[in-house]
Amino acid sequence: MARKKPESSDDPALRLSLLREMLLMRRFEERTAEAYALGKIGGFCHLYIGQEAVGAGAISVLRPDDYVITSYRDHGQALARGISPRAIMAELFGRIDGVSKGKGGSMHLFDRNTNFLGGHGIVAGHIPIATGVGFAIKYRGGDQVCLCFFGEAAVNNGAFHEALNMAALWQLPVIYLVENNRYGMGTALERASSVNDIAERACSYDMPNEVVDGQDVIAVREATIRAVTRARTENTPTLIEVRTYRFMGHSMSDAVSGTYRSKEELDEYMKRDPITVLRAQMEQRGEWSDEKMAAIDAEVRAIVEDAWNFADESPEPPLEALTEDVYVDTTSDTSTGAVAGER
């Protein structure tokens, strides 16, 4: 399919910035795991390690006025969208300077400034919301898109079907991006879905679809460019199945391997670490040097340390906050009318 690309992906600077971004996600979440072990982070906490290329590649395509919505495995996408690592870490620590003021936690990162519409905790629950965002874009006659991430287990939920049917029926500018990491918690794809090629599900809705190697950030980016172009210029939704793998357990309480997947399988997939895959591409093009990489790694580690310190020093929410933000006390007569995405 020869389509005009918004910008080329064969660009050394782009590769470098994607590498940096994936490295930031990786280092951020390594420290997240440590903070969890120390009891600084509580509740459910789902790491993105292994899947960084998906968030980094797909979100790199978006404009600032586009929308991103995702499930509870949301740290990586939030970082890719440009939300401050400080505000994310403070949220994980349950502090007032958190991006959701300590009310959301790991699973509910929200940021109005970057049109990051959450962090949702009910599997597939946010997929109809993405369809609604697409509806609102079309209603206003805008050319934004909504990029919606979810795991492969969500496609077995009725909300997925209902949402994609309406998006295709009404031709809404939404990109439904399935991160097929092979397991819905501990249940393998083949044990949960009657169709193993998730992308084929789109055929039920006569929706364009595509399968992509999720360990290759450039491939993810290229597929997203095609889908975003279709959405922006033709109001056509797309289902992208990104095949990836999570290197950690489902959540912090889940062993990395041993129950539902073997150590051998994990080791095999870890050979295709998204950071290593991009590194190989850069080496091939002579864009890699150990010194440069060491400098980038030191830079992102410093960012993560700063985020940790910021979060650690941020106060807990005051008790008065308990009853705040349950209702707004405005009406359309009194509110300013400024909304996300209107700039």
Partner: protein, 326 residues
């Protein structure tokens, strides 16, 4: 003042608010070409077009979520459920998305939207189509719940609901759509969160809301024939609930009966009784009694259905009991 039906009062509210604010749209099953399953949206498609009067597939969870998404980025959806019975399929979006978004986003994303449709039993629709969900819905922080029982209240509360920047659930009644009453053609709203004394009296307080307010009024009429002056309080809003108006009345009458459409266990009446015992314990001369649906799935047979539903006769009996007349 014009005398119009509850249905037309809702229709006027929708039309006026859609004219007033182009971010308002209505979405649901049969709202467009069919003109509404109960004709509440009659004429709106012709006036506002397909983008603002949107027929959906039969997909309650899906279109409730579409509404939440649209509201999140600044539109003001009115989601019609053909009945609240079908809305059970959509409760994940109502409860987990609409109600909680503001809080879990730390105040960043409010959800200015309305979910509306008929609630409770009509006539001989049997178990799955005859359910009153208000206590489920009013349980949830982050939602507002209103239940108008008259055409005047229906128009004023729906307009307030559409203008509110929070998710508001409007509980209508299939048996109410044909009820007529005085409704001004002018623009007016009724404040959410305020109960109203619908009838003054000093012997007993009857607390009710929605469709049951008509039962309460009938009972008050019958009681008046025996010289019993009942004060009828219409809650109008079930969340936030105006306990103060209820308690002010009970302090005067010293007796209360709650008439509610739902089942007994954890029903609205239990909450009212709690407010009353807490706030006016020393004023009570009798226990608070409740008139509610029998604790069974609604049966089809006419006589059994009648036996299951709250009515004026049962209300009169409860009032006589709190007055120690029987």
């Amino acid at each position: 003042m014009a005398i119009i039906t509850y249905r037309d009062a809702l229709n006027q509210a929708l039309r006026e608010e859609m004219q007033r604010d182009d971010r308002v749209f209505i979405m649901g099953e049969e709202v467009g070409i069919y003109q509404g399953a109960y004709k509440v949206s009659k004429g709106l498609l012709q006036e506002f077009g397909e983008m603002r009067v949107v027929d959906t597939p039969i997909t309650e969870l899906g279109f409730a979520g579409v509404g939440v998404g649209a509201a999140m980025v600044g539109l003001r959806p009115v989601i019609e459920f053909m009945t609240w019975n079908f809305a059970l399929l959509a409760l994940d979006q109502v409860v987990n998305s609409a109600a909680k978004m503001l809080s879990m986003s730390g105040g960043q994303f409010n959800i200015p939207m309305v979910f509306r449709g008929p609630n409770g039993a009509a006539l001989q629709l049997s178990a799955q189509h005859s359910q009153a969900w208000e206590s489920w819905l009013a349980h949830i922080p982050g939602l507002k719940v209103v239940a108008p029982g008259t055409p005047y209240d229906a128009k004023g509360l729906l307009k307030s609901a559409i203008r509110d920047d929070n998710p508001v659930l409007v509980l209508e009644g299939e048996m109410l759509y044909n009820v007529k009453g005085e409704v001004p053609e002018s623009d007016y709203t009724i404040p959410i969160g305020k109960a109203q004394v619908k009838r003054e009296g000093d012997h007993v307080t009857i607390v009710s809301y929605g469709k049951m307010i008509n039962v309460a009024n009938q009972a008050a009429d019958q009681l008046a024939k025996d010289g019993i002056r009942a004060e009828v309080i219409d809650l109008l809003t079930l969340r936030p609930l105006d306990a103060e108006t209820v308690c002010a009345s009970v302090r005067k009458t010293n007796r209360a009966v709650v008439v509610e459409e739902g089942w007994e266990i954890c029903g609205m009446g239990a909450q009212i009784a709690d407010y009353v015992q807490r706030d006016c314990f020393d004023d009570l001369d009798a226990p608070v009694l409740r008139v509610h649906q029998a604790d069974v799935p609604m049966p089809y047979a006419k006589n059994l259905e009648r036996a299951a539903k709250p009515d004026a006769q049962k209300t009169v009996a409860a009032v006589r009991q709190v007055l120690y007349l029987d």
